[in-house]
Amino acid sequence: MVIQTKDFGAVEISPDDILYFPQGVYAFEQENKFVILDDQNDTGVFQMQSVENGNLRFVLVDPFMVLHTYNPIIPDQELSLLEAKYREDLSFFVIAVLAETIEETTVNLKSPVVVNFAAKKGMQVILDGSSYPIRYPLFGGEASH
């Protein structure tokens, strides 16, 4: 099937690529179908594109590239919502707020996008009891610790 995207125009995707977000993501709760597009270059940057709304997309970053010690604890309730038996079944992404200068670009380490690709389910989880920042500077964060 073909979906409209902001950057790549019409993109051919397989229905198997569609991830279902039962609760959407925060502030966009009505959007339930996304695809996560990789640019094939192993940059650690991904696009999370709404299937039904071509204008809605997020830039995702591999959190473990940003903070090597990142260790999100996903509660059992979220684990079962994602139909995952084990935490190893889950993939993690963080949403980036891009800025004109790269130094001002931040990622939300507190609320990762968590995906169980095997079940094609995803959700944004606000990590309870963690002190990960909602606006963590992409560059200079880890170095300054």
Partner: protein
């Protein structure tokens, strides 16, 4: 910011009709009870901050900035 020390079982009143009770303190966690009219929105601050960050993320997802980002991330 007004800072007040309270013990478990103590209460605070905000305005005429909002009551905040300190229910339990254990380790780093404080359990709080809130009585407020239905039209008063109560949310964990990280929820509102995550909503705001998502809105900004969606607005800022411009392709030139994405390219800039890709070029700056260390290769795996």
């Amino acid at each position: 910011m007004l800072v007040i020390s309270r013990k478990p079982g103590d209460k605070l009143i905000l305005g005429d009709d909002i009551e905040i009770c300190i229910l339990e303190v254990s380790g780093e966690k404080v359990k709080i009870g809130i009585n407020a009219p239905k039209n008063v929105r109560i949310a964990r601050s990280e929820l509102l901050e995550t909503q705001n960050a998502n809105i900004e993320a969606q607005q800022s997802a411009q392709s030139d900035l994405v390219d800039l980002l890709k070029n700056r991330l260390p290769k795996k």
